[in-house]
Symmetry: C2
């Protein structure tokens, strides 16, 4: 009988990447008092600086929980358009103590002009886009794809129950790359865009194609979130949270399927509706449990 490992490598499916909430580097135990005045201990996610270089050019200092630094750096540079998907990465140097990571490419480009055009956006944990991002997605055509509502309900339920820093310590964002009804890459970070960038970096480093994927984010569906998803070539974006007007407009322009407010039985699709197949009998979908809702409930994002 063939062992599981070689079967896996035969199908060439990469192993799933899920959060590691037990990693002691990612959370800190803190002592406080609760509403009754009782001393309680709780866990909170850490937040540490990581300075990203592209070759000799210092690009940005990101605040991150610190896992998957290579994916974060590569994904950030890709999603900002500072690194092109076709660029050859010849090495990544990471120094945890200095909190520095350098991505080295074969050819250096002049980044002066790009770095001069910053737009501060409404996204979480990022806020720095560069002037030509909008141009880049202008000519993009996203592939035909299918989203069955049965997959959607299975995905949201599974993502809410996979052990995560969010369930452990709260105050964190998740970004999950999915295929059909299966979450395959689940990244977390204090900044929502860091989590997204980690997924983008992972996809690039492992040669994953976005065409047959579904992207799930815990954050709001802003213009920036739509731009990143389109850049990653993923045709379907789902969130528990709400929309902004520009996010909806950009999704319609680029033909992205945009689904928000996906909680329990409910969702609202505002763009790319033609990809949705309503195959789920709603009688068998539960409303979101209070337990899931409680910890994460908040006004927005």
């Amino acid at each position: 009988m063939r062992p599981v490992d070689s079967f896996r490598s035969m199908t060439s499916a990469p192993p799933d990447v899920f959060p590691t909430p037990d990693d002691p580097h990612l959370t800190m135990a803190v002592t406080g008092v609760d509403q009754t005045g009782t001393t309680v201990e709780s866990k909170v996610p850490v937040e540490r600086p990581l300075t990203i270089f592209l070759n000799t050019q210092k690009i940005v200092t990101a605040m991150t929980i610190g896992d998957h630094p290579e994916e974060l750096a590569v994904g950030y540079l890709l999603n900002q358009g500072l690194l092109r998907p076709s660029d050859t990465i010849v090495g990544i140097g990471y120094d945890a103590e200095l909190a520095v990571i350098a991505v080295r490419t074969k050819w250096e480009r002049n980044l002066e002009q790009k770095l001069g055009q910053r737009t501060q956006t409404s996204g979480c944990g990022q806020g720095t886009s560069f002037g030509d991002v909008l141009d880049v997605i202008a000519g993009v055509t996203l592939p035909a794809a299918e989203l069955r509502t049965s997959w959607l309900y299975h995905l949201t339920n599974r993502i809410n129950t996979i052990p995560s820093l969010y369930l452990e310590a709260g105050a964190i964002h998740g970004a999950v790359l999915c295929q059909r009804d299966r979450p395959i890459i689940y990244m977390e970070d204090v900044g929502r865009h860091n989590a997204v960038d980690k997924v983008a970096g992972y996809m690039h480093r492992h040669g994953l194609d976005g065409a047959n994927k579904i992207f799930f984010t815990t954050g709001r569906l802003t213009s920036e979130m739509v731009i990143k998803t389109v850049r990653m070539g993923i045709p379907i974006l789902i969130s528990r949270s709400g929309f902004t007007a520009w996010g909806v407009e950009l999704a319609r322009q680029t033909g992205l399927t945009l689904i928000g407010r996906a909680r329990g039985k409910r969702f609202l699709a505002l763009a790319g509706i033609e990809r949705i197949v309503f195959d789920q009998d709603l009688t068998y979908v539960a409303e979101e449990s209070t337990k899931l809702r409680r910890k994460g409930a908040t006004n927005s994002e």
Copy 2:
């Protein structure tokens, strides 16, 4: 009998500033489908660029819902340390069509060095801090103050029921300046930090002191949120959302009272506990209603 208006001016309390969810400039009606495939109409908040200048220097392009541009510009510049509280503002020029706002001061300073040191943070809607922000709050001592838990419950309940863009369209953050049990300045924006900056700008323009105030945010209690609150001189910060480790550390260093996960009956205080007076009989506090929770429920932030 004295009319209400002159009574108000006699006490010199400025009028409360609350959201204007009916303003047609702030939301857009969109059509989509829900989980049953039924066509539905919904409202989403707008998101538009606003480029902020300090004198002749272009500082940043922010994505904002667009209300209170003067407060946003002044607050942003103050919270980034680009404008000092003591600087005299000689004028603010706002051009809605060009989406440009310029704050003019008596003296121009050389901002080259400051603008060169950007740290990308985990905050929403901002993400650009400048290098010397940490130095500025290092020497700050926040004043003695009191937070009665009866005020806290009254505040959170009141803020959740004041008509707002959040209740109308979701996907938005709120920042509320409060005094005792009374919300007085309630600003909203797609980016959490824009909402905070608008409050800071309002306080500066109207000469409001932070010492006897309480600050409420819908966003997470990150380092950036703590830094801004300390800069504004406010000794107490409350949020529905969770904490990050660095946010907690900075609050402890600066003596800020930091309360998170404030929902219904619950809260968790992780710094500055000595300011809290537990005067509320918890028997009379309701758990948060499902109605309030539903729309805003999300994984984080």
